[in-house]
Symmetry: C2
Subunit: 479 residues, 2 copies
Amino acid sequence: MGKKNKQFVEKITAMEDDFAQWYTDVVKQAELVDYGLVRGTMIMTPYGYGIWENIKNELDKKIKETGHSNVQFPVFIPESLLQKEKDHVEGFAPEVAWVTHGGEEELAERLAFRPTSEVLFCDYYSKNIHSYRDLPKLYNQWANVVRWEKTTRPFLRSSEFHWQEGHTAHATYEDAAAETDRMLEVYADIVENYLAVPVIRGRKTESEKFAGAEYTITIESMMHDGRALQAATSHHFGSGFAEAFDITYLDKEGKSQFVHQTSWGLSTRVMGGLIMVHGDNRGLVVPPKIAPTQAMIVPIAQHKEGVLDAAADIRNKLADVIRVDMDDSDKMPGWKFNECEMKGYPVRIEIGPKDIEKNQAVLVRRDTNEKDFVSLDELVDKVPALLEEVQQNLYDQALTHREEKTTTVKSMEDVEKAIAENPGFMNGMWCGDEACEEKLKEDYQVTSRCIPFEQEAVSDTCLCCGKDAKELVIWARAY
Amino acid sequence: MGKKNKQFVEKITAMEDDFAQWYTDVVKQAELVDYGLVRGTMIMTPYGYGIWENIKNELDKKIKETGHSNVQFPVFIPESLLQKEKDHVEGFAPEVAWVTHGGEEELAERLAFRPTSEVLFCDYYSKNIHSYRDLPKLYNQWANVVRWEKTTRPFLRSSEFHWQEGHTAHATYEDAAAETDRMLEVYADIVENYLAVPVIRGRKTESEKFAGAEYTITIESMMHDGRALQAATSHHFGSGFAEAFDITYLDKEGKSQFVHQTSWGLSTRVMGGLIMVHGDNRGLVVPPKIAPTQAMIVPIAQHKEGVLDAAADIRNKLADVIRVDMDDSDKMPGWKFNECEMKGYPVRIEIGPKDIEKNQAVLVRRDTNEKDFVSLDELVDKVPALLEEVQQNLYDQALTHREEKTTTVKSMEDVEKAIAENPGFMNGMWCGDEACEEKLKEDYQVTSRCIPFEQEAVSDTCLCCGKDAKELVIWARAY
């Protein structure tokens, strides 16, 4: 048995040796996705899709609770429509997949597979918003989008990915700003309290904002290797799109006004985030709140009388309070343990003949690997409580990790040192000049992740050029 | 007020005058969809999408209860893959939308926007099924598909539509046959018990079956104008695709065997069905079980003291048991009534000063327009009960209508007479020869809808050629 386990574990590369390969191994071995035939596409198999479905369901609830309605817009954008907003088309055109033929017929105009749907919603709003009574329009859609990327990785950067995109129109700039903030908070809630990933809220610099936006706000998270992942963004468009698409309304005084718009999205990328934040060398670790299987029961010596019955009994009792499953396949228990670890089920429940005698079961936490013997009579209370503990601990661990890998930098020498000795987030002052961002990118592949809402003056001068500092920026290498 | 109502009602054409125009009017006026910019695409706006979302949620539950897992496969099919199964590619190639460019680069191979995903699942199964232990594979996905149709209508035939497509692989022909039947029953359950649309279960003839299937079974429903709509289909592929894609497994004896496959789908087309089955000249009628708003409260003389409070009180009480909303906008009550009718809310609840005095509210059923005065203390019991009655009555009405519009036909003269006098379903015997199907199609635009599972010999000879009859067929003009 020992040998078998080892083989199974050896299927994944150690994080320390090659983080990128570790990631690829986990994605495949935990059966989250398989590669599609077309470059950069992925097949989300049941376990991977099950996690995404749970994230989706929780987020969908919150999107509805904040007053939004789901809609479904077409997947195709006529080329001329995409070109209506200058910055937007420049940002997206290079990575558009183009449909040129319908059946045998060549189309008169090329159609873009939506890389994002701003222009479709704008066109609709321009025809359907007339008066202040029609505002706000609070629409959201769950959709697949395509961006023809040069280098791709499952979840992190795939040619086709899945997301929700909210598109709203408001009477005033302030209303739109409040919406932009509100939705970032919804995302922060999902990512922190469900995915157990701590985030830093902030504003993107001009060079990092969404193509066509007035400003973009973001939640940034830190992966295990210290790199940043943008978990979700929310964009304020001001009246830029409204002017390009002529989206006006009559206000209460009968005066024609441009609407103010927002858009916001969270995608399957966060799946990559949760893998790289919580995973370890034994495989994936899924936070309980979004785990398709929160506890897996593994019967020990299941051929012995009463074991499978006792295991099934536990499952039936727990099924009312958590998502529980039982592995009664003919694999060896050691193999099953390894599979539980690889798939990252938050809790494993072992029950064998000796446990039955003692009226107990063994609970094993995936996050700390701690074992606990619990009376069968208490399982219905203890397992949900343990899941809450695991959820909290995953968040705490990730936060500690982020704090440990965050450095204050005051000069380019500090940056170089941080990258060499403790790569992660760097808190450093910036003068506001794009040239300094460029230099950090060129010299160290470091980008400005955000201008955090919580500002602190860690020095008086720009870490790059030494001129007067304008604001604190979180700098990091990023996915 | 009277004038205003009239204007609102006049927005839709009467069914009797022009059924097609009535349909288009209802779809637009009930705010189910709007037209997309690209030919044949549609924008599903909140109300239309809300109904679809309810259908989707109910069906998704049943798909999971029957042991299936959701997955998400890529949207693109390489041209060479699509060509692997001869019948299948012939059936779908003429209506494929082709992606030829990614960004600036011309692709080496054209990519089809999936018109259906059999070949993608087959390719995956060929790589991931090895042993009998891997079977059955019970996968489902919710997806958008594109078929480049010449003539399109919202829901009924759109270039892009939304559906679920189940794709399963089994060890034996019998297992696959049982699955094909099981899923047709799931569909029948959804369509009859949620959409309140009675269906006839049967097998498609060879000429009407799915491209590449061994056989197709279907549920057929009758629209208000007597035409048939195929509500959902389930296909048995035998080992045809398995042979084309080399999907084999080792059985318990270690012998290599081809798998047996099925696929089954239900799409946004059923939205068209529910409109054309239940709608009337006042607009849409939505069956309670899938209605986003099951009851709409309309306050009467809402400026008078206590009216809005009483209405809100009703809403708060009912919100625990049904999906309820309140229209406290400044529109006239008559306008609100018309809107309730146009949108097809199953029940309208009116409350005004006189009702409050009598501690009552007025319940108006959308299906029969009957009014009932109900004590406010009983609303929480009475409204859900009334919704059940409406649900049942919608089904019963549709069934009666179908029975009234079903004729037994024994000859081509009978067919001609039925079409002229009582167009609908025609029960008629068939010899099994495709030439007779062709003739009925050419002469009367009538197609074989299905060979119903419940057979009855209504005559000894084929209604078309007069030769020996083989089986009973339901004939009809169809959407």
